[in-house]
Amino acid sequence: MERLVSSLRVRLIGVVLVILAALVPPLYLGISAIVREGYAERFVNSLRAYSRLVADELEALDERDFDQRAVALLDSAVLSGQVVFAEIRDGQRTLASSIATAPINVPARDDFHFGDQGDQTYFITHTLNRGDHAVLLRLGFDEVPTIERIAAAERSVLLVLAAFVAASIAVAVWLSWVIARPMVRLQEAAQRVASGDTDTQLHVRSSIREVQELNYHLEHMRRELVGTNVRLSQEIREREVSEQKRLDLERRLLHRERIATIGTLAGGVAHEFNNIMTPILLYSQLALESVPADSALAKDLTRVITAAHRARTLVTRILTFSREMDSQQPTVFPLRAPVEEALALLREIVPANIEIVFNAPAEALPVLGDASLVHQVVINLCTNAYEAMRRNGGRLAVTLAAVENPPESQVSPGCYHVLEVSDTGHGIEPAVLAHVFEPFFTTREVGEGTGLGLSVVHGIVRSMGGVITVHSAVGRGATFRVYLPVPTVQQQETARVASAAS
């Protein structure tokens, strides 16, 4: 920008200099010529008049003593100060002033231009009629005073022009400064904005309208920039928050899934293990009865029995551990609360091509159990639903309702609070539908899911004394309904007391 400034000023001054250079010399020459012409004309006119006067007097002179009188006349002309040469030619005779200062060899010509010949003398010749013959009067006038006056006048012109040039340059410099200064200011302000200081207003005073407008537009740009910055940083913050939420959700889902896996493995292993341990323990005890009490075999069998007891304790401990990992005192809570919380999380991760619709009555719809498990049920069902719609998009509807004697064969008559999750996805094949609640059953690729999700959901619903049903056809979406029994007044009271106690 410094380059632009200097170039702008230099250009302005340069233009003025060029104009002056083109203008001033001819101006000077022109004025000088006029001055010189004027002086020369005045000089020539006055000396012509003077020489005419001298000629007239010479004509009027008497014949007697003509020569004497003529010389006296010439001398007086010389003495008047203007004439530096004077002579009269009468035939072969020449009469001249004896006191003339320029007794030079006069050329044959006369009426030369002023300043010619470089002799600083102007010659005029008059032909006089002296009776019967003609006489030539020649006068030479001193040019020097006139030449000096011309020179003085030319010096004055030169001075005036120099003053004009100086003033022009000064004006050009001032003008370039007036234009360049606000631009430099604007440029500095723009640089501040560019280097991050977006808070300082651009305010450059200038009487130049273009500069004012430039200032206005730059300020407008700065405000736009500030607004954009604010929007961007807000978006970034929002994105960070939602990313954090998503990570949190992922972590929680993972944690749930891990606990579910531990619970499943521990529970399943424990069942099998206990069945296997039963014959080991009982056969050992039977055998122990058949051998002498002090035999080595009896000692060995006792050791087997002790080991079996230890195994039994270990299994009990594992079961207790896995239960404690995720067991909570059942409470009565409104079904809506965990569902809404889960949907809030899901909205963060479900892509925009899937519409989430939530319908619930105004009533609380109390249910008995662990709210965090219902939360997990919703997450699981909705995650499956959105997986089914991931490619083509669709509509994920979550509905809560109070239902009496539902028309479903698996559900025994009674009052239920129902959570329904339906999607418009690809649906479930009949062969798959029969197994969806089995653990480790999955249609996903290895590594994409554990196949525990729906079995966990099933387990949670069963643990709450509820029933889960599924209806689906290929291409027609799927609908999962969770029927949770309406807690009795007594259950509600117990839960209230228990939660108050804890």
Binding site: L286, S455, H458
Partner: protein, 132 residues
Amino acid sequence: MANVLVVDDEVEVAEVIRRVLERAGYSVTTAHNATAGLDAVARQPPHVVITDVIMPKVHGVELIKILRERYPGIRVIAISGGGSFGPLAYKPDAISTHAYLAAAREAGAEEILTKPFDMTDLIAAIRRLLPN
């Protein structure tokens, strides 16, 4: 001689219980599912039925209910492997041990044994029911 029917889908479990009880002087029949158990009861009603609670198809609680209904005189001991399996995997102990055994007790099981139990516990339980 008192008759005992053992119903358990685990063959080895049913077999070892038969051996223990025969040693203790009981006449023992075994069945490996609830339906076979009911058939055996129909052929020769036992004094005591020992049944596993968690079995495929018809589970133990159902069997106990039917026995109570049809044969009110038969005493019932419920046994369970603890833990859990299948869709009931979640909160295992709460479901199988507590819920199922509680359901079994409610349905009419007078004694509850959790596998693996000791021989003495088994015999003590059956003697409490048949104190002759």
